[in-house]
């Protein structure tokens, strides 16, 4: 599977994107496009955000000079005795948890691509990603760890391995044909998950029809089945 593939899903558009990405390329992306990346990306999640944004520690490298693509990821990786790295699979971790860091993160990192699992809230796209000229690419499945791991040409560097551990460290990865990823939010801040949710919600009440409610309710439970828990 790559940018030129012809598997089913033939109606879906496939794109190769060079990282760092520029505005023009991002502007062309439509919700549901299948994207493959070439270039350098880096991992960053709560550990990295806490150190840089929470504790105010200088980033280990000038982020803007490295890449503008932040991957919400912990690799299945190990460090060999000689100091080299063995990266097996890579998949994303659920992104909604990092919402509170977005504002400061865009200012600090200049990120234009967020790659993760499960997307952010529609509000985050409108108030954070779109105003900062960023789009969100979701991993597929989840997750295609072997396909994404295979696309890593080289581990450029690993920062704060000691401080944050293997899972939370900042892995800088040189990738080729890294995907598949799906365009989840576009340049205007529209969301594919939100659109699909609306379609799914049209049938929710019908699914429960005729089933009597349980004798004992749950304390504080929501009664609106169209709500998301994210």
């Amino acid at each position: 599977m790559d940018g030129s593939g012809t598997e089913s899903g033939g109606g879906l558009r496939r794109k190769r994107l060079k990282v760092p990405v520029d505005d023009a390329a991002l502007r062309e992306l439509e919700l549901g496009d299948i994207v493959f990346l070439d270039g350098v990306i880096y991992t960053g999640r709560e550990g990295l955000y806490q150190r840089i944004l929470g504790d105010g520690i200088e980033p280990p490298v000038p982020l803007r000079e490295i890449s503008n693509a932040n991957f919400h990821c912990s690799p299945a990786a190990s460090v060999n005795d000689d100091g080299t790295y063995n990266v097996g699979a890579v998949t994303a971790t659920a992104s909604f948890r990092f919402s509170k860091w977005l504002d400061a993160w865009f200012e600090t990192s200049g990120c234009k691509l967020i790659i993760g699992k499960g997307g952010m809230s529609p509000e985050d796209y409108k108030t954070q990603l779109a105003p900062n000229g960023a789009v969100y690419l979701t991993t597929v499945g989840y997750g295609t760890g072997a396909l994404l791991g295979r696309a890593i040409k080289r581990v450029v560097d690993v920062h704060w391995l000691e401080e944050l551990g293997i899972a939370q460290a900042m892995w800088v990865l040189d990738v080729e044909n890294f995907g598949p990823l799906i365009v989840e939010s576009d340049f205007e801040g529209n969301s594919l998950f939100e659109q699909q949710n609306k379609l799914v919600n049209e049938k929710v009440e019908a699914a429960y029809e005729g089933l009597k409610p349980p004798a004992l309710a749950r304390y504080g439970e929501t009664t609106n089945r169209e709500d998301e828990v994210v």
Binding site: M1, E7, S8, G9, G11, L12, G32, I34, C73, S74, P75, A76, A77, S78, G88, A89, V90, T91, T93, A94, G118, G119, T138, V140, G141, Y142, G143, T144, G145, A146, L147, L148, G149, R150, G165, I166, A167, P180, I182, F193, Q196, N197, L199, V200, E202, K203, V204, A207, Y208, L211, K212, P213, P214, A215, L216, R218, R225, E228, V229, V230
Partner: protein, 322 residues
Amino acid sequence: MAMIKADAIEEAAYELTAKAAIEIPQDYRDGLRGMLKGEEAELSRFVLEAMLENYEAAEQDRRAMCADTGVPRFFVKAGNEAQIEGGFVELETRLRRALARATHDVPLRPNRVHPLSRKDNNNNVGIGAPEIDYTFEPGGNWVDITTVHKGGLFGSDYRMLFPGDGIDGIKRFFLDVMYEFGRRGLACQPAIVGVGLGGSKDIAMTLGKQAACLRTVGDRNPDQQVAALEDELKEMGNSIGMGPMGYVGSSMVVDCHIEVGCCHTGGMPISIHSFCLSSRRAVARLHGDGRIEYRTDPNWFTPYSRRESVEWTEAEQSLAVV
């Protein structure tokens, strides 16, 4: 009688850890192919095809299929005559040692951390980790070791229902879990959905987890009433209009497995668990004569484990699988 060697236990557990992480069980792969045949929505089809291709890439490269290698754990079933070199304390030591080594060598992601300090030993071993569950089977000098790598965050829930809630209550709770964790694909569906019904509260949770992780796609509970409900819940989950990643589709439940245990007369505790698109399990049987046989069906639930009677009679024994 010959002893099951401690070295063999460590070797098998190390091999199983790699196999589980890399090789998707054939029953699940076939189940997913079946879902693809019935799936009409374009995005959902794309996701299923990408996953099937991912399994091939994992096997070709001998790399983990998913970087969230879950919280690896072991299920041990001992034949009643099993003689283990060094006893069960040695067995546990060997399982922990094998997992620590395999975590580095495969590699797995070192997922296990202390819940408060968040300290990571970087080897998936720590307090209570890996969990080791035990069961026993009449006869035989053998031990079955099953490893399961299941993701840990989404797709499971527990609720105390009451007898009057009946099948309606079960169905509603099932739908609740499908919708709650299906949106955005948090449950990494389509999944093998396990339902634990009855027992004490903790056993309701355990039965559901084991139903999801330790039975194969296509397997049915021998109790016909339970089996009919398995079919019904599977069908219901696949007809709510949702598919992989919460996109519009029809692929939510690769299979549904229900395990029951007798419960308090006033209640009907229920748990639901989703074993994900990387449904990782691998099994080895170690014999006293040194043979090791690998397979993917844990054969955890048997006529003996599901017995109702006080005694284990000859008539029942004739049905037992050993």
